[in-house]
């Protein structure tokens, strides 16, 4: 194949539903170039849902993990010092001082004007 001209290049398509959303992978498509890939992305995957932005990425520019490589993603289950669950005992402690614990739910609720 190498040097032969092809009409079929592989692109991965990503899109955002709303201005505050993250990009999400949609699917892949074949197109001869980026411009056609953008048109095809809209035709193929965005006929109904709201969309505010689109990315297309040529697959040859993506470095992913192959089968066995995915084994490096396994985690040991002994890292609770990294997570809030390793500090759950604080709840009881704070109760002793008649205070409520500031947990994730509480802290993330402080967005914007709320306190």
């Amino acid at each position: 194949m190498g040097k032969e001209a092809t009409f079929y290049q592989e692109f991965e398509v990503f899109s955002k539903r709303t201005p505050s959303a993250s990009f999400q992978h949609q699917f892949s498509l074949l197109a001869p170039n980026k411009e056609m890939a953008l048109v095809m992305a809209q035709e193929n995957f965005m006929r109904r849902e709201p969309v505010v932005d689109i990315w297309i990425v040529n697959r040859k520019d993506i470095r992913g993990l192959e089968g066995e490589e995915k084994l490096i993603l396994g985690r040991l289950n002994n890292k609770d010092y990294r997570e809030t669950k390793g500090y759950g005992y604080l709840k009881k402690k704070w109760r002793h001082y008649e205070q409520q614990m500031l947990d994730e739910k509480e802290i993330l609720s402080w967005a914007g004007d709320k306190k």
Binding site: Y8, L29, N44, R47, E66, G67
Partner: protein
Amino acid sequence: MVLAATRTEEEMQTEFLARIEAGEKIEADDWMPEEYRVALIKLISMHGISEIMGALPEKEWVPKAPSLRRKLGIMSKVQDEMGHGQLLLRVAEDLLKPYDRNRGDLMQDLFNGDLKFHNVFHMETKTWADAGLIGWLVDGAAIITQTNMLGASYGPYARALQRICAEEVFHAQHGESIILALAEGTAEQRAMIQESLNGWWESLLMFFGPASSNTTGSSKQDVTIKYRIRTKTNEQLRQDFFDKYIPRIQSLGLTIPDPTLRYNDEEKLWEYAQPDWSKFKKIIKNEGPRSQARLNLRRTSYEYNAWVRDALSAVID
């Protein structure tokens, strides 16, 4: 990788089946048994090309649809079917990589008869009721088989089906809307749906495939169930279709063209007259009433547009 080299084919096969049993999803780059890859390629390339060939009988009705809203409705459906085809062909193409084959090869397979398309899309659509009935019952049958594979062990296919099934809901309702308008119309319009049902009933039975490989000599159902690509047999899916649609068909005052049709209360199964399976075999060999005409339409547009592919082709490094 070193790890892979130290394991035998048999060990890898066992591990693979264990992954599937555990409900894990297999991805395009994962190792998979040849039998699994081949079964997926056959199933998904046939499904994908059927979406595209299925758009052809329906597109015939765009200029003839009875109102602007109906034209827009059926046009959106045709566009969806082409989109589903694109989606599914991508899944098949990734599986074809080890064989160094691509979309161009799939098109050639279609043209020379190696790649089959669904029996229903070899048939003629004679009236607007046919267009409605396809949406209602053919898409209804497709929804039964496709939702059964939503949990398929092959991740990319399951994800494609998720998108497809969501749109099929619109297709089914689009068909219902056409059929209900006719059913609530004049005596002539009601007769038109009855005639359409008479013509399509046999094709609808065939849609699910024969109950066992004894009927036509081959069947993919055992291997697709073994690898958890689907969970139900052809006959179970056909019975599901009966359960859901027979009461609806009858509620509209339509008669199913099978005097032997009855529900067996003890076995909880529908008894029905078998379609002519030798006819089915001929149809899927591209010897159906509209097989060659529709293949020619695809061929002509593929050849006619060859210059576009040539003009836009690029060398990739």
